[in-house]
Amino acid sequence: MASSNTLTQQKKPERSLSPWQIARKKFIHNKLAMISTVFILIVTALSFAAPFLAPYLSPIPDVSRVNIGSMNIPPNSEHILGTDKSGRDVLTRLFYGGRISLVVGFSATLMVITLGTLVGSIAGFFGGLVDNILMRFTDFVLNFPFLVFVIVLNTILRDTIDGVSVLIIVIGVLSWGGVARLVRSKILAEKENEYVLAALSIGCSPMKVIRKHLLPNVMSTIIVQATLIFASMIVVESALSYLGFGVPQSVPSWGNMLSSANEPDVLQGKPWIWMPPALILTLTILSINFIGEGLKDALNPKSLR
């Protein structure tokens, strides 16, 4: 594959950049977006390398173990970020917590985007009765009171598989409605172009028209939307965990770590317990939003043609 590519490249140096390549070039030249990307990559790498990096090399069960001997120790040389009220090392939990927060955010986003794109594109392309049924169903899902449903479903289901997967599925199933509406409206506008008729007339099946012709042309919107959803999903996970309805308390996540700050004593007197997760959470969300902005500029259809 690679060799054949270089061959044609030598033969045809004038091969044009694809719209995606143009977008990538633009994105790389966006400093803020690139810094944010690097930051996210570092956070991700550290989180996933947690078992090898954390000061207290320990598998997950040990991270959650209460250690009465070393409760509420301020940062020192042994515990760089101190320990929390149960005597657990904050830095270690920060690494492990990132893992959960990012995985939950990413998986929920993937689920939301997949479901939303599927429903939205089918509804938008076929229109009529199909559109009506799918969009009324979407309205129905959008009308669920999110918080109540997440809390109830999560509490009922949390013991069936494991807490984290249940949370991902519950959030995902409840939040695809917005994406479905967005994709539908984009497809409705895009399908008016004659290339859709052309695709049908050269013998493409309707599903192929959606997959090969319509989705690539609305993909830029979906990608930008995905980054914004990714950020908000991390917030949702943290908020739920902070309230005690998200990831089980025993599993470290940024939201769970923050929840210790609901004691006035910790909030006022022991900032080392909640400051690190709060800071890293804010920076992560900010970076993801900057990446989203960068992608929006890079994928702007006017700059692609």
Partner: protein
């Protein structure tokens, strides 16, 4: 051989050829929905009872003003729209009711060249992929061979081979239309419906594209349904011409007969509107009164009677059928 003899020859030879497409009483209505529950409250009768035939190798031009149903007719014939009523016979086979994969298979034989060269090419696809796609939809092919084949097709329509690796936005309108033509040709179809293929182009480029279409017709033995609103373009391209008004075919005649001796009052008005380059010739211009009636609520009887300078009482009562008044010359008017 004079040009005239050549044309006569062509007409004679075409008359003996087989019918490729036969359209009988074709009707395409768009439903109009209204009210809270989106009930159908009426129909836009875009194509209302149109019948014609096209022989192999022939070009039938369809003219008419905007909104008269020319494009809808073309799209319905290719089954990109669902006909409300009537029959479309392609090589004697009924294609009016087929759908799904059967329709997909049948589409191989009839292709379309679209009006807007800017909207009809997918901006995310490489030109080579745009032209390869129809072939790959029907056949499994070796990528290398196919690439060669497409490059020669690109050269044939007047584009450089390097266009294969480019994207549609890098080309001008005329070049894009050539890409669209190459895509339509890729499957080696029998019928091509050209829906105003040059109306979006510069006048200087129009003739190049038209001549390309003519050359390709002879080379690939193509049959065209050529839709346009420009009378001189249709005259240049067509063997026979059909004139449409408000979803109806009002006159069908050979190119020569139609321009020399238009019979239907509407056609006469259209022909009189063609600008005459020679100022020495004084031409009488027939100016039509009023506007085209709404196709949602067409007039009873002859669709043209509300604007016809020769309208009689009978015109508002009965719709005159399209009948052959002279050899090969069909008119739908009570005068004949």
């Amino acid at each position: 051989m004079t040009t005239r003899d050549f044309i006569q020859d062509r007409i004679d030879s075409l008359e003996n050829r087989d019918v490729l497409l036969e359209v009988q009483n074709l009707k395409t209505y768009y439903p109009v929905t209204g009210g809270f529950f989106k009930r159908t409250v009426g129909h836009v009768k875009a194509v209302d009872d149109v019948s014609f035939t096209i022989r192999k190798g022939e070009t039938l031009g369809l003219v008419g003003e905007s909104g008269c149903g020319k494009s809808t007719t073309g799209r319905t014939i290719l089954r990109l729209l669902k006909p409300t009523d009537g029959q479309i016979l392609f090589e004697g086979k009924e294609i009016t009711k087929i759908s799904g994969s059967k329709l997909q298979k049948a589409r191989r034989d009839f292709q379309m060249v679209f009006q807007d060269p800017y909207a009809s090419l997918n901006p995310m696809q490489m030109v080579g992929d745009i032209i390869a796609e129809p072939i790959l939809n029907y056949e499994k092919r070796n990528r290398k061979e196919l690439e060669q084949e497409i490059k020669s097709l690109l050269t044939r329509v007047g584009l450089p081979e390097a266009a294969y690796y480019k994207y549609a936005h890098e080309f001008s309108g005329g070049q894009r239309q050539r890409i669209g033509i190459a895509r339509a040709l890729a499957l080696n179809p029998k019928l091509i419906v050209a829906d105003e293929p040059v109306s979006a182009l510069d006048v200087s480029v129009q003739s190049q594209v038209l001549n390309l279409l003519k050359e390709l017709q002879i080379e690939f033995d193509l049959t065209y349904l050529f839709i346009a609103h420009d009378l001189s373009v249709v005259k240049h391209m067509s063997d026979r011409i059909g004139v449409m008004y408000l979803g109806n075919l009002v006159e069908v005649a050979s190119n020569r007969d139609l321009y020399k001796e238009p019979l239907h009052p509407y056609t006469q008005a259209l022909i009189s509107a063609i600008p005459e380059p020679n100022t020495a010739i004084k031409k009488e211009r027939i100016v039509l009164e009023g506007d085209v009636p709404s196709p949602q609520n067409p007039p009873t009887g002859c669709p043209f009677h509300t604007r016809c300078p020769m309208a009689m009482e009978v015109c508002s009562k009965e719709k005159p059928p399209l009948k052959e008044v002279r050899p090969g010359h069909h008119v739908a008017c009570v005068l004949y």
